[in-house]
């Protein structure tokens, strides 16, 4: 990237990929798939004290067609699984997925007849956040890691990125 702010016609030259990724990185629109306790911590993350808008991701959308970051906040049951899959499929490319908390990552301490043992059994997941529930700081950290990915590989479709990642 070349920047010239001195000359009267100040200009920036960059590559398209970099410019687009830079824009995407700071304007992730999350869809909080809030089902359980983690959703309450997501609310804390959005509220003024932790303020997710510092990272440009405050525009929470509940329509999958308008969002590019799916945050699975809570336990996914077998009953919920087909709905989660539908929502993921409705999101437009490029898209990223955060499994917030241990339930969404692995089922957590709910190893039973109703709980799906990790959201990655039905959809691909980019980032797993530890904690039950994770603190807002933890979630914000994972958001910054997603941003790093977006910067590097934002133009790669997630179907390519996720190839072979879904377990079943």
């Amino acid at each position: 990237m070349a920047v010239d702010l001195e000359s009267p016609s100040n200009y920036i030259t960059t590559r398209l990929r970099q410019a687009v990724n830079w824009g995407r990185k700071y304007s992730l629109w999350p869809l909080p798939f809030g089902v359980a306790c983690c959703a309450i911590e997501f609310m804390s993350t959005v509220s003024s004290y932790n303020d997710i808008s510092r990272f440009g991701a405050e525009l929470v959308r509940f329509s999958p067609r308008q969002s590019d970051l799916l945050i699975i906040a809570g336990t996914i049951s077998y009953k919920q699984a087909p709905i989660l899959k539908t929502i993921y499929e409705q999101m437009a490319e490029p898209k990223w997925v955060i499994a917030m908390g241990v339930c969404a990552s692995s089922g957590g301490f709910y190893n039973n007849y109703s709980t799906l043992q990790g959201a990655d059994r039905v959809i691909p997941v980019d980032m797993y956040v530890a904690g039950c529930p994770p603190t807002p700081e933890n979630l914000l950290y994972s958001l910054t890691l997603i941003q790093e990915r977006v910067e590097k590989e934002g133009l790669v479709p997630s179907s390519v990125r996720h190839a072979g990642r879904v377990q079943s």
């Binding site: 359980a36 306790c37 077998y78 009953k79 699984a81 109703s114 529930p133």
Partner: protein, 573 residues
């Protein structure tokens, strides 16, 4: 008082009362399935048992009559409780009591779903917590806990026949220009799903609505999207290991769940928490109640467009959370209480910190009241919306703020005091109309009362030990574990085998943030619960939701849902 009730029942029904039992203050009578409606009708009409708190199924595979169905009844007016048990063999139907108590509808569906006990005459006997493709009955002792079953598609709540029937009642669409026929075609009705992933449901709930123009002509609700098998998990763990699971019932007020669960088990063991422990439980429970109400009110206000209040109230909540995190290392899921005590004492400086933070609460509540109390938009959106009468609320099994909004000052902290609540000076705020406005205002007023209780409790928190002095329930101090063989053994037995709770049954309850939170525990004398049934306050309240919103519009449905404060973790367990 309840004993006399049992005697009166015996006089009234004679031999039809097959057995009576009493354990730790819980009275119960056993009747045959055929006599159940008669006995319950008598209890309701003649003995004032206006509320069916819960219906509990229990599986005893070794008995001839394999299942037992328990009906937990409460009379708020006469201050008594009674349990009616019905033993039934496999596939033997129990007559439904959904005509007597409206809350029975969902409670019976739950027993049918999890145990496979059929209820004859039930209007809508379907699964409720497990998905529609599930086979078998999950809480039977022979169902393996880890045997999951996949679900490939969500269930349609309305059949074509339902929609056709609803179309006959539709009136708003018939005046359409150019519509010659004076009737609505079923395809004109719009089907709208709210949930299971919707911002206004604050969790995984689903309501399917049929719209006649903009009016909800019929609504049906579905739950179970976050059924995490608390009750099955409890049977799989020791009594102490259940504690972290209780955090995740109502995750907005985990300390309340912790403390009430610990009390319920203590009741079954026959021990009482120390005065200091009771004081700490009162403090953390009332703080939890404040947090829970804060979340409910601010989310409710966001739903109806008043976003500013969210920032005001959530900051107070964050501030209290800081102290709770300091106290127990976690913000939401606290795991703070223990059977027989607390995990540890309060930290130095806790009292001053909380006093300061409650000052912030005052400011937050005052600011919000200034913004909403006389706000025209707020009043238009909430007054008269989703109103419910006192009789209906009792029949639906309402407790807590939603019941008190109808004008009934029923609060377990006053009606059946525990942890020394009778010694605190506080009032029970009530509403008048039982509508959304009153539910919000009751919660606002309760926060002020809870604040006062915390202040009183902090001022006179007794000194002394936090844990009971009983090696059967409390882990030995670490010095003893590392320093003596008895200490090691004691620790080992308590951890691996669990606390030996004497065989018996007990229903422990308290006033949760949403209403009566109860734990019906059955112990067979081993270290694990034989059966653990939670009485979640949300469950009966949400069962009335579909009927409450019929005839209204979608924005009203959203406002009502927020004010009922349905917490999915507790609803589905």
């Amino acid at each position: 008082m309840s004993q006399k009730l049992v005697e009166r029942l015996q006089r009234e029904f004679g031999d039809e009362i097959l057995a009576v039992a009493s354990h730790r203050g819980d009275e119960s009578v056993t009747v045959a399935p055929a006599n159940l409606p008669k006995v319950l009708a008598h209890l309701k009409d003649a003995e004032g048992c206006e509320q069916l708190s819960d219906v509990v199924g229990v599986d005893y595979p070794d008995r001839d009559e394999r299942f037992e169905v328990l009906y937990l009844l409460r009379s708020w007016r006469n201050k008594h409780r009674i349990q009616v048990r019905v033993p039934v063999a496999e596939d033997q139907p129990v007559p439904t009591v959904s005509g007597l108590y409206r809350s029975a509808d969902w409670h019976e569906r739950e027993v049918f779903d999890l145990f496979g006990v059929p209820f004859s005459g039930h209007p809508d006997l379907r699964r409720i917590l497990c998905h529609h493709q599930f086979e078998g009955h999950a809480l039977r002792k022979d169902y393996p806990i880890e045997q999951g079953q996949e679900c490939t598609r969500p269930e349609n709540l309305f059949t074509d026949a339902d929609i056709a029937r609803a179309a006959q009642r539709a009136t708003n669409l018939v005046t359409r220009v150019g519509d010659a026929a004076d009737e609505v075609h079923p395809s004109d009705l719009l089907t709208v799903n709210i949930g299971p992933s919707h911002p206004a449901t604050h969790g995984a709930l689903r309501a399917e609505l049929l719209l006649d123009g903009e009016t909800i002509i019929e609504a049906r609700t579905e739950i179970g999207y976050i059924h995490r098998c608390f009750e099955k998990e409890a049977e799989d763990h020791t009594w102490a290991e259940v504690m972290p699971y209780t955090d995740r019932l109502n995750y907005c007020s985990a300390m309340l769940n912790n403390s009430i669960y610990a009390s319920a088990v203590e009741k079954l063991i026959g021990i009482e928490a120390t005065p200091r422990c009771q004081g700490i439980r009162v403090i953390v429970s009332e703080l939890s109640r404040i947090i829970d109400h804060l979340v409910c009110v601010c989310a409710n206000l966001v739903d109806i467009g008043a976003l500013t209040n969210y920032w005001y109230l959530y900051n107070v909540r964050e501030s209290i959370y800081e102290s709770l995190e300091k106290l127990c290392g976690s913000r939401l899921t606290t795991n703070y209480a223990r059977i027989g005590g607390m995990s540890h004492d309060l930290y130095p400086g806790f009292a001053d910190e909380i006093r300061h933070k409650l000052g912030e609460l005052d400011r937050g509540v005052t600011d919000v009241m200034k913004l909403v109390a006389r706000n025209r938009i707020f009043l238009d959106r909430t007054s008269g919306v989703g109103a419910i009468s006192q009789a209906d609320a009792l029949s639906w099994g309402y407790t807590g703020p939603c019941l008190r909004a109808t004008g009934l000052a029923y609060d377990l902290r006053k009606e059946a005091p525990y942890w020394g609540y009778e010694t605190y000076d506080f009032e029970i705020p009530t509403g008048t109309d039982g509508d959304t406005h009153d539910r919000i205002m009751v919660r606002m007023a309760e926060m002020v009362q809870s604040r006062s209780i915390v202040m009183q409790a902090l001022d006179r928190l007794p000194s002394g030990p936090v844990d009971v002095d009983d090696a059967r329930v409390i882990l030995p101090p670490k010095a003893e574990v590392y320093g003596s063989i008895e200490g090691v053994m004691n620790q080992f037995k308590l951890i691996y085998e669990g606390i030996r709770v004497p065989a018996g049954e007990g229903y422990g309850f308290g006033e949760g943030a949403n209403g009566e939170l109860g734990f019906f525990c059955i112990s067979d004398g081993t270290g694990h619960p034989y059966r653990m049934k939670v009485r979640p306050p949300c469950f009966p309240i949400f069962s009335s939701y579909a009927e409450m919103i019929q005839g209204g519009m979608i924005p009203d449905a959203i406002a009502v849902l927020g004010s009922l404060n349905i917490i999915a973790g507790e609803l589905d367990r």
